[in-house]
Protein backbone atom coordinates (compact mmCIF):
# COMPACT_ATOMS: atom_id res chain seq x y z
CA UNK A 1 0.00 0.00 0.00
CA UNK A 2 3.03 2.22 0.08
CA UNK A 3 2.82 2.77 -3.64
CA UNK A 4 0.53 5.49 -4.86
CA UNK A 5 -2.57 4.09 -6.50
CA UNK A 6 -2.52 4.72 -10.23
CA UNK A 7 -5.78 6.02 -11.58
CA UNK A 8 -7.26 6.08 -15.04
CA UNK A 9 -9.81 8.16 -16.84
CA UNK A 10 -12.93 6.60 -18.13
CA UNK A 11 -15.98 7.79 -20.00
CA UNK A 12 -19.22 6.49 -21.37
CA UNK A 13 -20.14 6.83 -25.02
CA UNK A 14 -23.81 7.50 -24.26
CA UNK A 15 -24.62 10.37 -21.90
CA UNK A 16 -25.91 9.27 -18.55
CA UNK A 17 -29.15 10.46 -17.06
CA UNK A 18 -28.51 10.43 -13.36
CA UNK A 19 -30.08 13.36 -11.57
CA UNK A 20 -27.12 13.78 -9.30
CA UNK A 21 -24.39 15.96 -10.76
CA UNK A 22 -21.15 14.19 -11.55
CA UNK A 23 -18.23 14.19 -13.94
CA UNK A 24 -19.72 12.59 -17.02
CA UNK A 25 -21.67 14.10 -19.88
CA UNK A 26 -25.34 13.60 -19.10
CA UNK A 27 -28.74 14.14 -20.56
CA UNK A 28 -29.85 16.26 -17.62
CA UNK A 29 -30.26 19.98 -17.96
CA UNK A 30 -28.84 21.96 -15.14
CA UNK A 31 -25.77 23.78 -14.04
CA UNK A 32 -22.99 23.14 -16.45
CA UNK A 33 -20.62 24.73 -18.91
CA UNK A 34 -21.89 23.14 -22.11
CA UNK A 35 -24.73 24.93 -23.92
CA UNK A 36 -27.53 22.54 -24.71
CA UNK A 37 -30.48 24.48 -26.15
CA UNK A 38 -32.80 27.42 -25.69
CA UNK A 39 -35.97 27.09 -23.70
CA UNK A 40 -38.80 29.42 -22.93
CA UNK A 41 -38.66 31.40 -19.73
CA UNK A 42 -41.70 29.53 -18.55
CA UNK A 43 -40.02 26.18 -19.01
CA UNK A 44 -36.93 27.20 -17.20
CA UNK A 45 -37.53 30.30 -15.14
CA UNK A 46 -33.99 31.56 -14.67
CA UNK A 47 -33.67 35.20 -15.74
CA UNK A 48 -29.90 35.08 -15.24
CA UNK A 49 -29.60 32.84 -18.32
CA UNK A 50 -31.86 35.06 -20.46
CA UNK A 51 -30.47 35.25 -24.01
CA UNK A 52 -31.46 38.71 -25.29
CA UNK A 53 -30.29 38.14 -28.82
CA UNK A 54 -32.21 34.91 -29.17
CA UNK A 55 -35.29 36.55 -27.57
CA UNK A 56 -35.25 39.43 -30.12
CA UNK A 57 -34.87 37.01 -33.00
CA UNK A 58 -37.74 34.85 -31.79
CA UNK A 59 -40.62 35.25 -34.22
CA UNK A 60 -43.18 34.79 -31.47
CA UNK A 61 -41.48 37.36 -29.20
CA UNK A 62 -40.99 34.85 -26.39
CA UNK A 63 -38.14 35.10 -23.96
CA UNK A 64 -35.52 32.50 -24.67
CA UNK A 65 -33.38 31.13 -21.88
CA UNK A 66 -30.14 29.23 -22.40
CA UNK A 67 -30.00 25.87 -20.70
CA UNK A 68 -26.82 23.94 -20.10
CA UNK A 69 -26.01 20.28 -19.95
CA UNK A 70 -25.34 19.07 -16.48
CA UNK A 71 -22.58 16.48 -15.97
CA UNK A 72 -23.96 13.51 -14.15
CA UNK A 73 -22.74 10.84 -11.87
CA UNK A 74 -22.48 7.24 -13.07
CA UNK A 75 -22.25 3.92 -11.25
CA UNK A 76 -19.10 1.89 -11.68
CA UNK A 77 -19.05 -1.79 -10.83
CA UNK A 78 -16.20 -4.24 -10.76
CA UNK A 79 -17.22 -7.88 -11.10
CA UNK A 80 -14.36 -10.26 -10.37
CA UNK A 81 -14.32 -13.97 -11.07
CA UNK A 82 -12.86 -15.68 -7.99
CA UNK A 83 -12.78 -19.18 -9.44
CA UNK A 84 -9.87 -21.54 -8.84
CA UNK A 85 -8.20 -20.73 -12.12
CA UNK A 86 -7.88 -17.10 -11.03
CA UNK A 87 -6.06 -17.88 -7.82
CA UNK A 88 -3.15 -19.90 -9.18
CA UNK A 89 0.09 -18.88 -7.59
CA UNK A 90 2.45 -17.38 -10.10
CA UNK A 91 4.73 -14.47 -10.78
CA UNK A 92 1.85 -12.12 -10.08
CA UNK A 93 -1.40 -13.92 -9.56
CA UNK A 94 -4.45 -12.92 -11.48
CA UNK A 95 -6.20 -12.08 -8.24
CA UNK A 96 -3.30 -9.81 -7.29
CA UNK A 97 -3.86 -8.01 -10.56
CA UNK A 98 -7.58 -7.95 -9.79
CA UNK A 99 -6.82 -6.42 -6.39
CA UNK A 100 -4.59 -3.81 -7.99
CA UNK A 101 -7.31 -3.03 -10.47
CA UNK A 102 -9.91 -2.85 -7.72
CA UNK A 103 -7.95 -0.18 -5.87
CA UNK A 104 -7.14 1.69 -9.02
CA UNK A 105 -10.70 1.73 -10.31
CA UNK A 106 -12.13 2.62 -6.92
CA UNK A 107 -9.70 5.51 -6.61
CA UNK A 108 -10.53 6.65 -10.14
CA UNK A 109 -14.23 6.49 -9.35
CA UNK A 110 -13.83 8.46 -6.15
CA UNK A 111 -11.74 11.07 -7.88
CA UNK A 112 -14.52 11.71 -10.33
CA UNK A 113 -17.15 11.37 -7.63
CA UNK A 114 -18.85 8.30 -9.06
CA UNK A 115 -20.37 5.44 -7.14
CA UNK A 116 -18.25 2.34 -6.93
CA UNK A 117 -19.40 -1.21 -6.27
CA UNK A 118 -17.73 -4.60 -6.24
CA UNK A 119 -19.06 -8.11 -6.67
CA UNK A 120 -16.80 -11.12 -6.22
CA UNK A 121 -18.10 -14.35 -7.71
CA UNK A 122 -16.91 -17.69 -6.46
CA UNK A 123 -18.98 -20.84 -6.66
CA UNK A 124 -21.90 -18.56 -5.83
CA UNK A 125 -22.15 -14.98 -4.70
CA UNK A 126 -21.19 -14.50 -1.09
CA UNK A 127 -22.06 -11.61 1.15
CA UNK A 128 -18.44 -11.13 2.12
CA UNK A 129 -17.52 -10.39 -1.46
CA UNK A 130 -20.32 -7.92 -2.01
CA UNK A 131 -19.61 -4.21 -1.83
CA UNK A 132 -22.70 -2.22 -2.70
CA UNK A 133 -22.15 1.00 -4.58
CA UNK A 134 -20.91 3.73 -2.37
CA UNK A 135 -17.92 5.82 -1.59
CA UNK A 136 -16.02 4.09 1.18
CA UNK A 137 -12.38 3.68 0.21
CA UNK A 138 -11.47 1.96 3.50
CA UNK A 139 -13.72 -0.98 2.78
CA UNK A 140 -12.32 -1.20 -0.74
CA UNK A 141 -8.80 -1.46 0.63
CA UNK A 142 -9.88 -4.28 2.93
CA UNK A 143 -11.46 -6.06 -0.02
CA UNK A 144 -8.32 -5.63 -2.10
CA UNK A 145 -6.22 -7.11 0.68
CA UNK A 146 -8.55 -10.09 1.03
CA UNK A 147 -8.71 -10.51 -2.71
CA UNK A 148 -4.96 -10.90 -3.12
CA UNK A 149 -5.00 -13.62 -0.47
CA UNK A 150 -7.96 -15.70 -1.50
CA UNK A 151 -7.20 -19.30 -2.48
CA UNK A 152 -10.27 -20.77 -3.98
CA UNK A 153 -10.49 -24.33 -5.16
CA UNK A 154 -13.86 -24.10 -6.84
CA UNK A 155 -15.40 -23.17 -10.13
CA UNK A 156 -16.83 -19.79 -10.96
CA UNK A 157 -20.56 -20.31 -11.38
CA UNK A 158 -21.27 -17.15 -9.39
CA UNK A 159 -20.33 -15.10 -12.41
CA UNK A 160 -23.55 -16.13 -14.12
CA UNK A 161 -25.76 -15.13 -11.18
CA UNK A 162 -24.51 -11.60 -10.96
CA UNK A 163 -27.21 -9.74 -12.87
CA UNK A 164 -29.75 -9.26 -10.02
CA UNK A 165 -27.06 -7.53 -7.95
CA UNK A 166 -26.55 -4.77 -10.52
CA UNK A 167 -28.52 -1.52 -10.70
CA UNK A 168 -31.17 -1.18 -13.36
CA UNK A 169 -29.64 2.03 -14.63
CA UNK A 170 -26.91 1.76 -17.22
CA UNK A 171 -23.62 1.46 -15.36
CA UNK A 172 -20.02 0.99 -16.31
CA UNK A 173 -19.07 -2.58 -15.50
CA UNK A 174 -15.59 -4.04 -15.46
CA UNK A 175 -15.78 -7.80 -15.88
CA UNK A 176 -12.58 -9.37 -14.53
CA UNK A 177 -11.95 -12.96 -15.42
CA UNK A 178 -9.57 -15.18 -17.34
CA UNK A 179 -12.60 -16.42 -19.29
CA UNK A 180 -11.17 -19.92 -19.18
CA UNK A 181 -14.47 -21.60 -19.78
CA UNK A 182 -16.58 -22.67 -22.67
CA UNK A 183 -18.00 -19.98 -24.96
CA UNK A 184 -21.45 -21.58 -24.52
CA UNK A 185 -21.27 -20.82 -20.82
CA UNK A 186 -20.09 -17.34 -21.65
CA UNK A 187 -23.27 -16.69 -23.61
CA UNK A 188 -25.17 -16.83 -20.32
CA UNK A 189 -23.60 -13.45 -19.64
CA UNK A 190 -25.07 -11.93 -22.81
CA UNK A 191 -27.88 -10.17 -20.94
CA UNK A 192 -25.35 -8.04 -19.13
CA UNK A 193 -24.05 -6.48 -22.31
CA UNK A 194 -27.28 -4.94 -23.56
CA UNK A 195 -28.17 -3.26 -20.31
CA UNK A 196 -24.81 -1.99 -19.17
CA UNK A 197 -21.60 -0.69 -20.60
CA UNK A 198 -19.34 -3.69 -20.03
CA UNK A 199 -15.57 -3.67 -20.27
CA UNK A 200 -14.32 -7.29 -20.27
CA UNK A 201 -10.87 -7.41 -18.72
CA UNK A 202 -9.22 -10.69 -19.70
CA UNK A 203 -6.54 -11.60 -17.19
CA UNK A 204 -4.05 -14.10 -18.56
CA UNK A 205 -0.82 -15.30 -17.05
CA UNK A 206 1.87 -15.37 -19.77
CA UNK A 207 3.66 -18.10 -17.77
CA UNK A 208 0.97 -20.47 -19.03
CA UNK A 209 1.88 -20.09 -22.67
CA UNK A 210 4.75 -17.76 -23.56
CA UNK A 211 6.60 -18.58 -20.34
CA UNK A 212 6.59 -22.36 -20.81
CA UNK A 213 9.97 -24.06 -21.08
CA UNK A 214 11.23 -25.02 -24.52
CA UNK A 215 12.37 -28.47 -23.44
CA UNK A 216 11.57 -30.74 -20.52
CA UNK A 217 8.80 -32.61 -18.81
CA UNK A 218 6.12 -30.60 -17.06
CA UNK A 219 3.13 -31.84 -15.15
CA UNK A 220 0.07 -29.66 -14.90
CA UNK A 221 -3.03 -30.00 -12.83
CA UNK A 222 -6.18 -28.29 -13.92
CA UNK A 223 -7.11 -25.97 -11.09
CA UNK A 224 -10.83 -26.63 -11.42
CA UNK A 225 -11.40 -30.26 -12.37
CA UNK A 226 -8.08 -31.41 -10.83
CA UNK A 227 -7.12 -33.54 -13.80
CA UNK A 228 -3.41 -33.86 -14.41
CA UNK A 229 -1.53 -33.96 -17.66
CA UNK A 230 2.11 -34.65 -18.26
CA UNK A 231 3.55 -32.73 -21.17
CA UNK A 232 6.78 -33.39 -22.97
CA UNK A 233 7.69 -29.82 -23.77
CA UNK A 234 9.49 -29.09 -26.99
CA UNK A 235 9.55 -25.98 -29.20
CA UNK A 236 6.86 -27.39 -31.50
CA UNK A 237 4.42 -28.04 -28.65
CA UNK A 238 5.12 -24.67 -27.08
CA UNK A 239 4.37 -23.00 -30.39
CA UNK A 240 1.13 -24.97 -30.62
CA UNK A 241 0.09 -23.89 -27.11
CA UNK A 242 0.84 -20.24 -27.89
CA UNK A 243 -1.19 -20.60 -31.08
CA UNK A 244 -4.06 -22.11 -29.09
CA UNK A 245 -4.05 -19.09 -26.77
CA UNK A 246 -3.96 -16.75 -29.77
CA UNK A 247 -6.95 -18.54 -31.27
CA UNK A 248 -8.74 -18.26 -27.97
CA UNK A 249 -7.96 -14.55 -27.88
CA UNK A 250 -9.47 -14.19 -31.37
CA UNK A 251 -12.62 -16.08 -30.41
CA UNK A 252 -13.14 -14.12 -27.21
CA UNK A 253 -12.63 -10.84 -29.04
CA UNK A 254 -15.10 -11.93 -31.71
CA UNK A 255 -17.68 -12.92 -29.15
CA UNK A 256 -17.36 -9.71 -27.13
CA UNK A 257 -17.45 -7.57 -30.25
CA UNK A 258 -20.66 -9.28 -31.29
CA UNK A 259 -22.07 -8.02 -28.00
CA UNK A 260 -20.73 -4.51 -28.62
CA UNK A 261 -17.87 -4.67 -26.16
CA UNK A 262 -14.17 -4.57 -26.79
CA UNK A 263 -12.16 -6.80 -24.47
CA UNK A 264 -8.95 -5.60 -22.88
CA UNK A 265 -6.33 -8.28 -22.34
CA UNK A 266 -4.18 -7.79 -19.26
CA UNK A 267 -1.20 -10.12 -19.32
CA UNK A 268 1.51 -10.09 -16.72
CA UNK A 269 0.86 -6.95 -14.73
CA UNK A 270 -1.70 -4.24 -14.36
CA UNK A 271 -1.04 -0.77 -15.72
CA UNK A 272 -3.59 1.99 -15.31
CA UNK A 273 -2.38 3.68 -18.47
CA UNK A 274 -3.65 0.73 -20.51
CA UNK A 275 -7.16 1.54 -19.33
CA UNK A 276 -6.77 5.24 -20.00
CA UNK A 277 -5.67 4.36 -23.52
CA UNK A 278 -8.59 2.01 -23.86
CA UNK A 279 -11.09 4.73 -22.97
CA UNK A 280 -9.34 7.28 -25.17
CA UNK A 281 -9.71 4.96 -28.15
CA UNK A 282 -13.39 4.32 -27.69
CA UNK A 283 -16.26 5.23 -25.49
CA UNK A 284 -18.26 2.45 -23.99
Amino acid sequence: MALAIETFHYRLANPGYCAIPGAHPGQMVGSGQLFKRHESLLASPDPRRLDLRASLLDPFNHYRVKVFQQHSKIDLFVIADLSASMSIPGESTKLQIAADFLLSSAQSAFESGDNFGFIGCGQGIEKSWLFPKGLRMGRVQELARDLSRVRNGQGGNGLFQVEPYLPLRRSLIFLLSDFHFDLNRLSRLAGLFGRHAVVPLVLWDPAEYAGLPEWGIVKFQDSENMRTRTLLMRPGLKRKIIEAFEQRRGRLRHWFRSKGAEPLFIEGRYEASALTNYFLQRGV
Binding site: S85, K219, K240
Partner: protein
Protein backbone atom coordinates in the same frame (compact mmCIF):
# COMPACT_ATOMS: atom_id res chain seq x y z
CA UNK B 1 4.26 -70.39 -16.56
CA UNK B 2 4.29 -73.69 -14.75
CA UNK B 3 8.04 -73.54 -14.73
CA UNK B 4 8.14 -70.46 -12.54
CA UNK B 5 8.26 -70.81 -8.79
CA UNK B 6 9.04 -68.59 -5.82
CA UNK B 7 11.21 -68.90 -2.75
CA UNK B 8 9.10 -66.59 -0.60
CA UNK B 9 5.72 -66.37 -2.28
CA UNK B 10 4.26 -64.02 0.35
CA UNK B 11 6.52 -61.28 -0.96
CA UNK B 12 4.36 -61.35 -4.07
CA UNK B 13 1.85 -59.33 -2.05
CA UNK B 14 4.13 -56.45 -3.02
CA UNK B 15 2.64 -56.71 -6.50
CA UNK B 16 -0.41 -54.96 -5.07
CA UNK B 17 1.76 -51.88 -4.81
CA UNK B 18 1.74 -51.79 -8.59
CA UNK B 19 -1.31 -49.58 -8.41
CA UNK B 20 0.74 -46.84 -6.75
CA UNK B 21 2.22 -45.45 -9.99
CA UNK B 22 -1.31 -45.34 -11.37
CA UNK B 23 -2.53 -43.27 -8.46
CA UNK B 24 0.44 -40.98 -8.15
CA UNK B 25 3.53 -40.31 -10.16
CA UNK B 26 6.58 -38.86 -8.49
CA UNK B 27 6.24 -35.46 -10.08
CA UNK B 28 4.35 -32.83 -8.14
CA UNK B 29 1.98 -31.09 -10.54
CA UNK B 30 1.92 -27.36 -10.92
CA UNK B 31 -1.46 -25.72 -11.21
CA UNK B 32 -2.71 -24.68 -14.59
CA UNK B 33 -5.77 -22.57 -15.10
CA UNK B 34 -7.39 -24.41 -17.99
CA UNK B 35 -5.93 -27.59 -19.42
CA UNK B 36 -8.65 -27.88 -22.05
CA UNK B 37 -6.95 -25.13 -24.01
CA UNK B 38 -3.70 -27.08 -24.30
CA UNK B 39 -3.84 -28.96 -27.59
CA UNK B 40 -3.72 -32.76 -27.55
CA UNK B 41 -0.22 -34.10 -27.94
CA UNK B 42 0.39 -37.74 -28.76
CA UNK B 43 3.99 -37.78 -27.63
CA UNK B 44 3.03 -36.44 -24.19
CA UNK B 45 0.32 -39.07 -23.84
CA UNK B 46 2.88 -41.74 -24.72
CA UNK B 47 5.30 -40.30 -22.18
CA UNK B 48 2.66 -40.31 -19.44
CA UNK B 49 1.80 -43.90 -20.31
CA UNK B 50 5.44 -44.86 -20.39
CA UNK B 51 6.07 -43.27 -16.97
CA UNK B 52 3.18 -45.21 -15.44
CA UNK B 53 4.13 -48.51 -17.04
CA UNK B 54 7.77 -48.06 -16.07
CA UNK B 55 6.80 -47.28 -12.49
CA UNK B 56 4.60 -50.36 -12.36
CA UNK B 57 7.34 -52.49 -13.86
CA UNK B 58 9.83 -51.30 -11.25
CA UNK B 59 7.46 -52.25 -8.44
CA UNK B 60 6.74 -55.58 -10.11
CA UNK B 61 10.41 -56.33 -10.67
CA UNK B 62 11.29 -55.45 -7.09
CA UNK B 63 8.58 -57.59 -5.56
CA UNK B 64 9.37 -60.48 -7.90
CA UNK B 65 13.01 -60.12 -6.90
CA UNK B 66 12.06 -60.14 -3.22
CA UNK B 67 9.90 -63.19 -3.71
CA UNK B 68 12.94 -65.01 -5.12
CA UNK B 69 11.46 -66.02 -8.43
CA UNK B 70 13.22 -68.86 -10.16
CA UNK B 71 12.82 -71.08 -13.17
CA UNK B 72 12.30 -74.71 -12.20
CA UNK B 73 14.52 -77.46 -13.52
CA UNK B 74 13.70 -77.74 -17.18
CA UNK B 75 13.84 -80.55 -19.65
CA UNK B 76 14.60 -79.59 -23.19
CA UNK B 77 13.79 -82.09 -25.85
CA UNK B 78 16.70 -82.64 -28.21
CA UNK B 79 17.70 -84.95 -30.97
CA UNK B 80 21.27 -86.11 -31.13
CA UNK B 81 23.16 -89.15 -32.21
CA UNK B 82 23.89 -91.73 -29.61
CA UNK B 83 22.48 -94.49 -27.50
CA UNK B 84 21.48 -95.55 -24.05
CA UNK B 85 24.43 -97.50 -22.82
CA UNK B 86 24.77 -99.57 -19.70
CA UNK B 87 28.32 -100.52 -18.86
CA UNK B 88 28.52 -103.79 -17.04
CA UNK B 89 31.95 -104.14 -15.51
CA UNK B 90 33.39 -107.29 -14.13
CA UNK B 91 34.78 -106.68 -10.66
CA UNK B 92 36.13 -110.14 -10.02
CA UNK B 93 39.59 -110.39 -8.58
CA UNK B 94 41.12 -111.57 -11.82
CA UNK B 95 40.36 -108.14 -13.37
CA UNK B 96 43.11 -106.64 -11.21
CA UNK B 97 45.67 -108.81 -12.99
CA UNK B 98 47.36 -107.96 -16.24
CA UNK B 99 46.54 -109.60 -19.50
CA UNK B 100 49.39 -111.93 -18.80
CA UNK B 101 47.63 -113.16 -15.67
CA UNK B 102 50.07 -111.56 -13.26
CA UNK B 103 49.77 -108.84 -10.69
CA UNK B 104 50.56 -105.46 -12.32
CA UNK B 105 54.19 -104.49 -11.74
CA UNK B 106 54.27 -100.99 -13.14
CA UNK B 107 55.20 -101.74 -16.75
CA UNK B 108 51.86 -103.40 -17.48
CA UNK B 109 48.54 -102.14 -16.29
CA UNK B 110 45.79 -104.34 -14.97
CA UNK B 111 42.80 -105.30 -17.10
CA UNK B 112 40.47 -103.22 -14.97
CA UNK B 113 42.75 -100.17 -15.31
CA UNK B 114 42.79 -100.64 -19.07
CA UNK B 115 39.04 -100.95 -19.11
CA UNK B 116 38.69 -97.84 -16.93
CA UNK B 117 41.03 -95.76 -19.06
CA UNK B 118 39.44 -96.76 -22.33
CA UNK B 119 35.90 -96.44 -21.04
CA UNK B 120 36.67 -92.97 -19.71
CA UNK B 121 37.80 -91.95 -23.18
CA UNK B 122 34.76 -93.61 -24.68
CA UNK B 123 32.39 -91.73 -22.38
CA UNK B 124 34.23 -88.52 -23.22
CA UNK B 125 33.59 -89.01 -26.91
CA UNK B 126 29.91 -89.90 -26.66
CA UNK B 127 28.29 -86.51 -26.32
CA UNK B 128 24.60 -87.30 -26.25
CA UNK B 129 24.51 -90.75 -24.78
CA UNK B 130 22.84 -91.61 -21.57
CA UNK B 131 25.14 -93.94 -19.76
CA UNK B 132 24.58 -96.12 -16.76
CA UNK B 133 27.21 -98.04 -14.86
CA UNK B 134 26.87 -101.28 -13.03
CA UNK B 135 29.35 -103.86 -11.87
CA UNK B 136 29.18 -107.37 -10.68
CA UNK B 137 31.24 -109.92 -8.86
CA UNK B 138 29.66 -112.24 -6.33
CA UNK B 139 26.54 -110.14 -6.54
CA UNK B 140 25.61 -107.22 -8.79
CA UNK B 141 26.57 -103.68 -7.76
CA UNK B 142 24.32 -100.82 -8.60
CA UNK B 143 26.68 -97.91 -9.40
CA UNK B 144 24.96 -95.30 -11.50
CA UNK B 145 21.59 -95.28 -13.28
CA UNK B 146 21.23 -94.05 -16.83
CA UNK B 147 22.21 -90.41 -16.84
CA UNK B 148 23.40 -87.77 -19.25
CA UNK B 149 25.70 -86.35 -16.61
CA UNK B 150 29.11 -87.25 -17.97
CA UNK B 151 30.93 -86.20 -14.82
CA UNK B 152 28.89 -88.60 -12.75
CA UNK B 153 29.59 -91.44 -15.19
CA UNK B 154 33.30 -90.67 -15.16
CA UNK B 155 33.26 -90.69 -11.38
CA UNK B 156 31.36 -93.98 -11.37
CA UNK B 157 33.90 -95.53 -13.69
CA UNK B 158 36.75 -94.19 -11.58
CA UNK B 159 35.10 -95.62 -8.47
CA UNK B 160 35.62 -99.12 -9.79
CA UNK B 161 39.33 -98.69 -9.17
CA UNK B 162 38.87 -99.94 -5.60
CA UNK B 163 40.24 -103.47 -5.09
CA UNK B 164 38.14 -106.08 -6.77
CA UNK B 165 35.96 -108.62 -5.11
CA UNK B 166 35.76 -112.36 -5.32
CA UNK B 167 33.78 -114.18 -7.95
CA UNK B 168 31.90 -113.75 -11.18
CA UNK B 169 28.16 -113.97 -10.93
CA UNK B 170 27.31 -112.91 -14.45
CA UNK B 171 23.60 -113.73 -14.56
CA UNK B 172 22.70 -111.38 -11.70
CA UNK B 173 24.87 -108.67 -13.22
CA UNK B 174 23.16 -109.05 -16.56
CA UNK B 175 19.67 -108.90 -15.13
CA UNK B 176 20.52 -105.80 -13.08
CA UNK B 177 22.02 -104.14 -16.14
CA UNK B 178 19.01 -105.06 -18.29
CA UNK B 179 16.64 -103.73 -15.62
CA UNK B 180 18.22 -100.27 -16.10
CA UNK B 181 16.26 -99.92 -19.33
CA UNK B 182 12.94 -100.51 -17.64
CA UNK B 183 10.69 -97.46 -17.79
CA UNK B 184 13.04 -95.61 -20.07
CA UNK B 185 11.85 -94.11 -23.35
CA UNK B 186 12.57 -96.33 -26.28
CA UNK B 187 14.65 -94.05 -28.40
CA UNK B 188 17.99 -94.56 -30.06
CA UNK B 189 19.52 -97.89 -29.37
CA UNK B 190 19.93 -99.66 -26.07
CA UNK B 191 23.31 -101.11 -25.54
CA UNK B 192 24.57 -103.36 -22.86
CA UNK B 193 28.34 -103.32 -22.88
CA UNK B 194 29.72 -106.17 -20.88
CA UNK B 195 33.36 -106.04 -20.03
CA UNK B 196 34.64 -109.07 -18.31
CA UNK B 197 37.60 -111.38 -18.26
CA UNK B 198 35.68 -114.49 -17.56
CA UNK B 199 32.24 -115.93 -17.42
CA UNK B 200 30.24 -118.24 -15.29
CA UNK B 201 27.57 -120.76 -15.93
CA UNK B 202 24.04 -119.40 -15.92
CA UNK B 203 21.51 -121.58 -14.25
CA UNK B 204 18.41 -122.48 -16.30
CA UNK B 205 15.97 -120.38 -14.21
CA UNK B 206 17.86 -117.16 -14.56
CA UNK B 207 18.67 -118.00 -18.15
CA UNK B 208 14.95 -118.02 -18.90
CA UNK B 209 14.41 -114.74 -17.06
CA UNK B 210 17.34 -113.09 -18.81
CA UNK B 211 16.22 -114.26 -22.19
CA UNK B 212 12.83 -112.65 -21.63
CA UNK B 213 14.23 -109.45 -20.14
CA UNK B 214 16.75 -108.82 -22.87
CA UNK B 215 14.16 -109.51 -25.58
CA UNK B 216 11.64 -107.25 -23.92
CA UNK B 217 13.99 -104.36 -23.51
CA UNK B 218 15.32 -104.69 -27.07
CA UNK B 219 18.87 -104.58 -25.90
CA UNK B 220 21.89 -104.80 -28.19
CA UNK B 221 24.66 -106.74 -26.60
CA UNK B 222 28.37 -106.09 -26.82
CA UNK B 223 30.77 -108.24 -24.97
CA UNK B 224 34.35 -107.20 -24.67
CA UNK B 225 36.08 -110.29 -23.37
CA UNK B 226 39.43 -109.49 -21.83
CA UNK B 227 41.15 -112.74 -22.40
CA UNK B 228 44.01 -113.67 -20.16
CA UNK B 229 46.83 -115.42 -21.87
CA UNK B 230 46.43 -119.18 -22.11
CA UNK B 231 42.89 -119.13 -20.86
CA UNK B 232 40.00 -120.50 -22.92
CA UNK B 233 38.56 -117.97 -25.39
CA UNK B 234 35.00 -117.34 -26.47
CA UNK B 235 35.34 -118.97 -29.82
CA UNK B 236 37.39 -121.95 -28.75
CA UNK B 237 35.86 -125.30 -29.45
CA UNK B 238 37.15 -127.96 -27.06
CA UNK B 239 39.00 -130.90 -28.59
CA UNK B 240 37.46 -133.25 -26.19
CA UNK B 241 33.69 -133.29 -26.43
CA UNK B 242 33.49 -134.31 -22.81
CA UNK B 243 34.78 -130.94 -21.86
CA UNK B 244 32.11 -129.24 -23.91
CA UNK B 245 29.83 -128.15 -21.06
CA UNK B 246 29.04 -124.83 -19.41
CA UNK B 247 30.97 -125.58 -16.25
CA UNK B 248 34.19 -126.33 -18.07
CA UNK B 249 33.91 -123.61 -20.71
CA UNK B 250 31.57 -120.91 -19.34
CA UNK B 251 32.83 -118.29 -21.86
CA UNK B 252 31.92 -120.39 -24.84
CA UNK B 253 28.50 -121.19 -23.41
CA UNK B 254 27.77 -117.56 -22.49
CA UNK B 255 28.66 -116.66 -26.07
CA UNK B 256 26.32 -119.32 -27.37
CA UNK B 257 23.62 -118.12 -25.00
CA UNK B 258 23.98 -114.54 -26.26
CA UNK B 259 23.88 -115.73 -29.83
CA UNK B 260 20.75 -117.72 -29.19
CA UNK B 261 18.94 -114.63 -27.88
CA UNK B 262 18.26 -113.41 -31.42
CA UNK B 263 19.19 -109.83 -30.50
CA UNK B 264 21.99 -107.92 -32.21
CA UNK B 265 25.07 -109.21 -30.52
CA UNK B 266 28.76 -108.69 -31.05
CA UNK B 267 31.59 -110.24 -29.10
CA UNK B 268 35.14 -108.99 -29.02
CA UNK B 269 37.96 -111.04 -27.70
CA UNK B 270 40.71 -108.72 -26.56
CA UNK B 271 44.07 -110.05 -25.48
CA UNK B 272 45.83 -106.74 -24.98
CA UNK B 273 44.89 -103.09 -24.36
CA UNK B 274 45.09 -102.24 -28.09
CA UNK B 275 42.52 -104.87 -28.90
CA UNK B 276 40.22 -103.46 -26.23
CA UNK B 277 40.63 -100.00 -27.70
CA UNK B 278 39.81 -101.33 -31.12
CA UNK B 279 36.70 -103.07 -29.84
CA UNK B 280 35.46 -99.92 -28.11
CA UNK B 281 36.19 -97.78 -31.17
CA UNK B 282 34.19 -100.27 -33.17
CA UNK B 283 31.20 -99.89 -30.87
CA UNK B 284 31.63 -96.12 -31.00
CA UNK B 285 31.23 -96.09 -34.79
CA UNK B 286 28.47 -98.69 -34.87
CA UNK B 287 26.16 -97.14 -32.33
CA UNK B 288 25.38 -93.72 -33.67
CA UNK B 289 21.71 -93.70 -34.33
CA UNK B 290 19.45 -90.69 -34.00
CA UNK B 291 18.54 -90.36 -30.38
CA UNK B 292 15.62 -88.53 -28.91
CA UNK B 293 16.51 -87.29 -25.49
CA UNK B 294 15.77 -84.65 -22.90
CA UNK B 295 18.45 -82.34 -21.72
CA UNK B 296 18.06 -81.15 -18.18
CA UNK B 297 18.64 -77.49 -17.42
CA UNK B 298 19.20 -76.72 -13.78
CA UNK B 299 16.94 -74.36 -11.79
CA UNK B 300 17.71 -70.77 -12.68
CA UNK B 301 17.44 -67.93 -10.20
CA UNK B 302 15.63 -65.05 -11.87
CA UNK B 303 15.66 -62.60 -8.96
CA UNK B 304 19.00 -61.18 -10.09
CA UNK B 305 17.48 -60.48 -13.45
CA UNK B 306 14.52 -58.81 -11.75
CA UNK B 307 16.78 -56.60 -9.66
CA UNK B 308 18.83 -55.74 -12.73
CA UNK B 309 15.73 -54.63 -14.60
CA UNK B 310 14.48 -52.71 -11.59
CA UNK B 311 17.77 -50.82 -11.44
CA UNK B 312 17.73 -50.12 -15.19
CA UNK B 313 14.16 -48.84 -15.09
CA UNK B 314 14.79 -46.84 -11.92
CA UNK B 315 17.79 -45.19 -13.53
CA UNK B 316 15.60 -44.42 -16.53
CA UNK B 317 12.96 -42.88 -14.28
CA UNK B 318 15.65 -40.92 -12.46
CA UNK B 319 16.92 -39.59 -15.78
CA UNK B 320 13.39 -38.55 -16.73
CA UNK B 321 12.93 -36.99 -13.31
CA UNK B 322 15.97 -34.84 -13.93
CA UNK B 323 14.30 -33.66 -17.16
CA UNK B 324 11.35 -32.41 -15.18
CA UNK B 325 10.87 -28.66 -15.16
CA UNK B 326 9.46 -27.26 -11.96
CA UNK B 327 7.76 -23.90 -11.83
Amino acid sequence: MNDIAFETPWALAGLLLMVLPLLKTGAAPSAYSWLAIVPADGLSVLLALFLRITGMSVVAALSLGLSGVYLKEQKVERIGRGAHIVLLLDRSRSMDDTFAGRAPDGSNESKSATARRLLTEFVEKRKHDRIGVTAFSTSPLFVMPLTENKQAVQAAIAATSSPALAYTNISKGLSLAASFFEQQPLTGSRILLLISDGAAAIDPDSEQALRQLIKQQQIRLYWVFLRTENSPGIFDVPEDSRNDNSDAMPERYLHLFFKSLNVPYQAYEAENPDAVQKAIADIDTLENRPLHYFERIAKQDLSGLCYRWAVILLLLLLALKSCEVRR
